[in-house]
Symmetry: C2
Subunit: 381 residues, 2 copies
């Protein structure tokens, strides 16, 4: 048989300034690049396995999971394949098909598919809509009260700590309180927070937290993190009857290779970077201020920014696209000429971006580039 | 917080001759090492995603999955996180909790945990026991007939194509025939076959095949392969109601980074190497012959070998261990001195090994080393 040419190079995206919020927190540290080299072969972390991934001591997976639990302030920590697989594991362990869960209106699509895969009914706490799309923690109280009035049991409350559309940070502590008042555990989706900003599951009162290594913890995907409070460990980490050391929701072992090694290698740097989260928020706010100097550009979501993921409404680029010979592709192409990538090809009405981890000089260059492009085409506006 | 020292180096295991059957088929090709470098960052394969992993064209994931389906002779192919996750996806999609499935007595533990996680009852077709541990395809007929007589519905038949304990290859075509006569689909676990030897799902009549990238396809884990026959695609690849392009059992996307890039990069070489499977079997048989010249060493499982995974019974090493000052650790340590690894620390009664992919010179060196060690301690025997 003849194979296609798979085009397995990626130099542009590796070398240019990538604004894709999905990718900014997943860029490897030097330590992780070395670990990737060491553990590249299949099943590489299993050299000294005695039967349980989470108990391997060379490399020190066991010690790492202890450190991870300390970092998250949870009783137990496991690696999973990603935040979505962590959410599915929790739902699958503690809910039955037909159960009802309460989620936020800004939930990531993977929350929906994980719940659908489990056959769960979802009741949404809606956002405030345009332009803030704010999730009010009180909304959870309202929805939970309403369901209680109807006599409908709720198995799980899920909150997207920081959502992937607007980068809004919601007060998880309040949501946890309302969930617990209703006797329901809280699963906090920290895919965009864990590894970027401090997350203290204990202070928040989250029963479960999930995070994403490839999204926000400088790891090579797919890898995620699941933190579990002691009182739920028996259910979520329940063992096989046939193979008593194997945890069922983990299918025995989860990440059996390089992604885990990279997560571990980056971890000390990730712990450190969360201590400088305020600087990242400050840089984000300054970038928003620069961008909003361009006529018509407007940051959506809660203001001022409390997270690096930004959604801009950009009618000016849409206007240029109407008359530009390359139509909607012009913005992508103009940015690319300036070594900036990560805005979707063809998108001009609005876009998401992030300057997480960039230096002030790089951020100024990026903002200036957008200004330049508008200036270049001012006759089309 | 203070992090442990994670000990993230692996030079010994990378550079020595590793006999671990779990790892022999997962050693990366040079192309895969390059791809790992290119796609190391988190979410790296998602640069040009339009919403579905399996439709991404840069890198050519879409074309790759087509090639993969051609290679397996299945109608559909997807990447999953590993063979176990593929088995779980099939079971979860087509079985209900409480359903009965029929499996072989040599099934991998992950078959058990996947079925347990789904709440399924397992009925086993036992192996012939010591010393062959053969799975007789007729055994499936017997068990299926018996269940039919009892009026018990069977949702799925699962066969471990080549098992991980004895390396026995079972005639899957016959099992498929018995399964279909009973009106039940067959899931073939090819973790140890796909990528090492030719697997033709169409000729076999398998409705589902799963394989393991890190075990047998020269890929960096965790990554697996799921092949599905058209008539089951609607169930196993069913889409989300809320997000119509997203497949539920895949939770939208599965492998979102480097492991997929390595699987793709190695694929042409993997296709090629399956054409030389007979040479590997021949080398294995010769190695067994050399080892059995050592008094008391005996190959378990079906003879002559039809797969590279070998289980030896080695009473001679156990005898040495009884009197050796390092007890059971001596064998591991003696091998390590000779730059041979992959036999478990402390194991002497029996062990599993594989010489898959080694040159004849390397295999002779390995066999000679075992002979040497026995010779060195002949006074203890």
């Amino acid at each position: 048989m003849e194979c296609h040419d798979y085009g397995l190079t990626r130099s542009t995206e590796r070398k240019d300034l990538n604004l894709n919020p999905l990718q900014r927190g997943g860029i490897l540290t030097t330590e992780a690049r070395k670990a990737l080299y060491e553990f590249s072969d299949g099943y590489s972390v299993c050299d000294y396995c005695g039967g349980r991934l989470d108990e391997i001591s060379k490399p020190q997976i066991h010690g790492f999971l202890d450190d991870l639990a300390s970092f998250l302030h949870t009783d137990h920590a496991r690696t999973v394949h990603g935040a979505r697989e962590g959410k599915f594991a929790v739902m699958h362990a503690i809910c039955k098909p037909g159960d009802t869960i309460v989620i936020d209106g800004n939930a990531h699509y993977t929350t929906h598919v994980a719940a659908e895969r489990c056959g769960l009914n979802m009741v949404e706490v809606p956002s405030s809509g345009y332009p803030e799309y704010r999730i009010d923690p009180e909304g959870y109280k309202g929805v939970l009260d309403e369901l209680a009035d109807k006599g409908e049991d709720v198995s799980l409350v899920l909150l997207t700590h920081v959502d992937g559309n607007y980068g809004n940070l919601t007060d998880a502590q309040k949501v946890a309180r309302f969930a617990h008042e209703a006797g329901v555990p809280l699963l906090l989706n920290c895919a965009y927070s864990m590894g970027r900003m401090p997350v203290d599951a204990n202070v928040i009162g989250a029963d479960f937290v999930v995070g994403s290594g490839h999204k926000s913890m400088a790891a090579s995907g797919p890898i995620g993190v699941l933190g579990v409070k002691d009182e739920w460990a028996e259910q979520v980490l329940r063992r096989s009857k046939m193979h008593e050391v194997k945890e069922l929701e983990m299918l025995g072992c989860t990440s059996r290779g390089a992604p885990l090694a990279t997560l571990m290698a980056s971890f000390p740097a990730v712990v450190e970077r969360t201590r400088h989260w305020d600087d990242e928020v400050q840089k984000t706010r300054e970038f928003v201020a620069e961008m909003e100097k361009i006529g018509g550009v407007k940051q959506l979501g809660v203001k001022p920014k409390e997270h690096d993921l930004i959604r801009f409404e950009t009618p000016v680029f849409d206007k240029i696209a109407e008359k530009h010979p390359r139509r909607g592709f012009f913005l992508y192409e103009e940015l690319k000429k300036r070594k900036i990538v990560g805005i979707k090809h063809g998108q001009t009405k609005w876009f998401k971006c992030s300057v997480y981890g960039f230096s002030k000089e790089q951020i100024n260059y990026i903002a200036d580039s957008f200004v330049d492009i508008v200036e270049k085409y001012k006759d089309l506006v």
